[in-house]
Symmetry: D2
Subunit: 392 residues, 4 copies
Amino acid sequence: MAERVLNVGLVGGGAGAFIVHPHQKAIHFDGTRRVVCGALHPDPEVALEEARNWPVSIRGYKSYDAMIEEELKLPEGERMDYALVVTPNHVHFDPAKKALEKGIPVFCEKPLTVTLEEADELVRIVNERNIPFCTAHTYLGHWTSRLSRHIVRSGLLGKIRWVDAHYIQGWLAGRAEDQGVIQAEWRVDPTRAGISGCGGDIGTHSLMQLRYVTGLEVTRIQAFLETFVEGRRLDDHFTVYCELDNGGKAIIRSSQICIGHKNDLGIEVNGEKGTLIWSQEEPEKLVIHLTGQPDRVYWRGEVQADDGFLGDLPDSLMAEPTIPSGHGEAFHDAFARLHRCFEEDVRAYQKGTYQREDGSRYAMVEDGRIGIAFLKAAVESNNNDHGWITVK
Amino acid sequence: MAERVLNVGLVGGGAGAFIVHPHQKAIHFDGTRRVVCGALHPDPEVALEEARNWPVSIRGYKSYDAMIEEELKLPEGERMDYALVVTPNHVHFDPAKKALEKGIPVFCEKPLTVTLEEADELVRIVNERNIPFCTAHTYLGHWTSRLSRHIVRSGLLGKIRWVDAHYIQGWLAGRAEDQGVIQAEWRVDPTRAGISGCGGDIGTHSLMQLRYVTGLEVTRIQAFLETFVEGRRLDDHFTVYCELDNGGKAIIRSSQICIGHKNDLGIEVNGEKGTLIWSQEEPEKLVIHLTGQPDRVYWRGEVQADDGFLGDLPDSLMAEPTIPSGHGEAFHDAFARLHRCFEEDVRAYQKGTYQREDGSRYAMVEDGRIGIAFLKAAVESNNNDHGWITVK
Amino acid sequence: MAERVLNVGLVGGGAGAFIVHPHQKAIHFDGTRRVVCGALHPDPEVALEEARNWPVSIRGYKSYDAMIEEELKLPEGERMDYALVVTPNHVHFDPAKKALEKGIPVFCEKPLTVTLEEADELVRIVNERNIPFCTAHTYLGHWTSRLSRHIVRSGLLGKIRWVDAHYIQGWLAGRAEDQGVIQAEWRVDPTRAGISGCGGDIGTHSLMQLRYVTGLEVTRIQAFLETFVEGRRLDDHFTVYCELDNGGKAIIRSSQICIGHKNDLGIEVNGEKGTLIWSQEEPEKLVIHLTGQPDRVYWRGEVQADDGFLGDLPDSLMAEPTIPSGHGEAFHDAFARLHRCFEEDVRAYQKGTYQREDGSRYAMVEDGRIGIAFLKAAVESNNNDHGWITVK
Amino acid sequence: MAERVLNVGLVGGGAGAFIVHPHQKAIHFDGTRRVVCGALHPDPEVALEEARNWPVSIRGYKSYDAMIEEELKLPEGERMDYALVVTPNHVHFDPAKKALEKGIPVFCEKPLTVTLEEADELVRIVNERNIPFCTAHTYLGHWTSRLSRHIVRSGLLGKIRWVDAHYIQGWLAGRAEDQGVIQAEWRVDPTRAGISGCGGDIGTHSLMQLRYVTGLEVTRIQAFLETFVEGRRLDDHFTVYCELDNGGKAIIRSSQICIGHKNDLGIEVNGEKGTLIWSQEEPEKLVIHLTGQPDRVYWRGEVQADDGFLGDLPDSLMAEPTIPSGHGEAFHDAFARLHRCFEEDVRAYQKGTYQREDGSRYAMVEDGRIGIAFLKAAVESNNNDHGWITVK
């Protein structure tokens, strides 16, 4: 059953980058994927230098254009099997589009693009070519996110009335962008980050968690974008009141100025018959409250379908490789799960058996597009005295 | 230094009542106050019957009018020293007004009244007569509420940018009002509860906690009132986005349909230099996050002023009678602290030395009035497509 | 059905005392009991002075001998109905014995006595006279202690294999006894505290919690008593490995030198089918782990018998007066519950209907005696190179 | 700076194995190490079959003897650079010895060996040859284990009085060994596991955590080994009272029959000036209690040396690759950190610059040996009516 190791090419990820590091670990995690090449920086010479500095030997390219062109000349097994796009937001669209057009599957950071038009274009190409594309919403990779999805969609909680999805951070409470923090610099720069700072960076994660777990869509919103740090050019605090397509309501609360919060992404789903609570900083567990029952705290690795409450658990969920509970999974494990699922699709794609599905294992290009549409509506509502705007 | 025991007269609190029970314990808690009489029910005969059923012998009256009149004929030391009003909302105003007009201090449940006009009238009388009046915002009685107030007002967190005050419950997720739950019945009935259900019952607590701790006032709001339970006549879910008078913003989130939440009142205050987090369900502690410091978890009974952070702690705070940490204080302790402080003011009032102060120990009549103004603005905003309304 | 207020007389509890304060609150808590007299200090003049300084007017006596004699001359309804003994350990026996011999019920602090002979004598008198006697093991008064007892004894956890009962504090990590802390002074003085410091003060609570919850008796022990603080004359750290009478084993871990621990009393019971965990610093909940089930977290006030696991809950448990969950009960509530149950027995005693029972509501004189026997065996084992000693 | 990828050969780890999986992920984690070959099973044919079933292509061998012999014939860069021994306990010694004698560094599971003589022999060889050897005490790999070590050794807590190191599990509460659970089968079989079950499997982890963090050695012990599950041939519950070489005392508590506990390894260190608490199930944080200070909760990724308490933090600690706090590290990250540090030493060894050091980054062969000596003393004490035995 041994297969060859799958090859990944990087777009972005040079020195000072952050998100490339967990991706790198997630790629190598299982021993069945590896990084083989990269266009690591917009400056061609820096790009080559960074490639030479990579911990192990990889093929460096001056640009992603060059990488796409040259890699395709290599024999299968040697050349890049999929591209990972980890550039600032404004450089997602172009490399993703070019790789897709050459038939190369793409794993792309979020928010998907800077404009809705670009997002629409990516959706079009992906659908036309039936090619694997992952929008990197990491937190879907937690096993408990998958269990949450199953529980809410199983109807155990009854009709969903209210959802609170939040992602609260504190790292931008001061002017980090003026203190040489590269990660801060581009995130607060409209030319690189797009129309929303906090909303784009983490509000989209809250939205995705809400949609992934509940299967509900946000139809109309009133949005409140604040910029608490003086002189900052984008929002650093982002609150949205939402109507859902089942008649329920939701709130999305995101902030980057709440000192003490780290990556406090969480979701609470309140249904007519019960509540589910999940937090990414304690991703090993989820809590269910059912009328007449005590709190039920489920731990990854300990969940049993025959507990009298959960009903049948999907085979796909139970078959996910995990470690015994009490030996925690965390961020890298979640990241690795996404790449592991994506690997499966890339292998199917190469064998000609790939069929796009419903986004139950990772976020699809359409999910990325909805994030962009949501941001657009949020900014419009905010600029319109916080009135109602339809998300479309 | 032994003083005579102070006498309390009850308005409301007959069989099926809830809030009278913690009040009763809070009154007796220290051995320096006791219940001596009551007009326990609107029906005169039931009122007398209920008084006869009281665990120990008290004077029963057919009505609060009768009680006020008759008690004043008794000698000092025997007669009621202050009145406790624990009726449904629509019966706060009249007994409170009548007692005050006879010079009897009043400890009154919240929300203060049903209309703003009534609230204005009580404010007027209390000021005119310089008489003790407490609006029963219990949670101010937690020692850690008082410490929170000191910390935020000391400037340790810098300028306040954002406040999240919430009070989430789940007990009205079903139609409790149709199942013989007296506490539910009147709370969802506009004729008894007033213009807002969830907002009036617990939203006002969130607001009070915000105002008490930060010293900031809410100036303008957009409000979202939901009624999730079909057929219910008042809101059971209440979200308000707020502008504060220092330029900061806040959210007040209240709900009674979130299964699993009990009395989940909490506040988080985010300043330019740090964050404070407090929750009434774990009232023994509060957490401070300061840039460059680990989380600092303070426990009631263990706090020391010379820790290099807190600065001087007010004598009044440190002198509050408490028990050593690890032996928890809870709801009854908080309730008792309010009555203890009120007792002090009543004794001063009887000696002619009472001066109204700033509400640092319990909520004043003005605080109650602001709660009513807030509810009025919230309903107006909600009815006006959630547009901005000024709180006044 | 109003009854007269029951009268309590204090032995001990003058200035600097600690435990009298929660007792005082617990006595007054319900409005059906009150303090009416006291012999508050061994020095007759101080005793009278302290009584004059009591917050409200009480009858002061120069000695407990005088108090017992004089009170009995007063008419029923005016005289003391029961005595509360809150002196240092070496002054428990004499006043308790004298009160009992005059037919006055006694509520006595723990450890019961200084010697086993004294304890035997009290047991003898109490049984002979069939008179109410409570050993003040406060923590039994938590509603969740009672629920724990029911769950373990119901067999839900199967046969009990292992019990970990601990009580960890940190307040004696330094030489508090040299810094004017009265509470420390007598606790580390063998002439006043008895043969064990930490073991007597808090080890006995661990033992009592174990026995109360499980119904098992400790038969044989190996004990390790440490004195970590130089110059201290009694143990400040106390570990005991136990054999139980059902063939199971247990550990009792107590310490007063673990900085950061406050009153960290807890118990974990491991049976063949499940585990129960309870902690007095979070007394509102208990956790049950059953094979194949998620953690089940029960909250006081939310427990329902028909949850498919608990089976029938005793009426006596469900009838205990409590407040809704989320409005916490804590130390004073637990203390009050003991006095409330004791009040019931005192009233029955006065009516001639009292029958001593099984200690399901508070610790009996026999429970106090077992604590003393346990301490004696622990010291003997420790002095005997930690070899096995039978508790008898 | 790019280096070639380092090659790892596996001894053990075929189907049904557990610990090989986290090792595999830890090996590949950084992209600088990989599995290239394996002798995966004692049965030669199964061994080859298992190798063919490995997710990617590796060289399969019939035995570790064959693997060691054949690999050495391959050119550097292709051949195995270090061996990972993940067999049951009784098959640690032979392959480790043989690899070491051929100059191949060894990463070996714990407990190190079955007898003390074997452990002594490995210590001798490793010292003689100055060759990298890691005993796989995973939990040292948590960043917070390293911070704990720094804090305790810095003297911040003062002289250490008492240490509580525990590792509690519940997975052997029933007869898992009779239900086809391979992991249970060999662990309770004296011929494969050695003289202690619970003590060997997890008691040694508690001991190692104690020694790693405090730098103290256990000198004398009284041990209590229990077998709660009927018919089991080794202990499933293991409690040891310890004397430490600084005059302090400690307890090591391990169990495998406490239902609900997963991998509950934790340590509490009580010094004269403060306390440190750490738990591997929440490895992102540690808590310090200092007299006069609130609880201080430190989070990996947020720790700053200039907080006024920690003093200088070692460069090596601060330079450890981690991800920002709030994006959790967990079991695989800890495992990977050990392999990453070991890789560094293997590379130095290959360059001839390796010097054995003090075990600050992973457990040395000597640490493994002390674990075996401890087990031997524990069994001896237990068999000797729990009397004192010196660990040597």
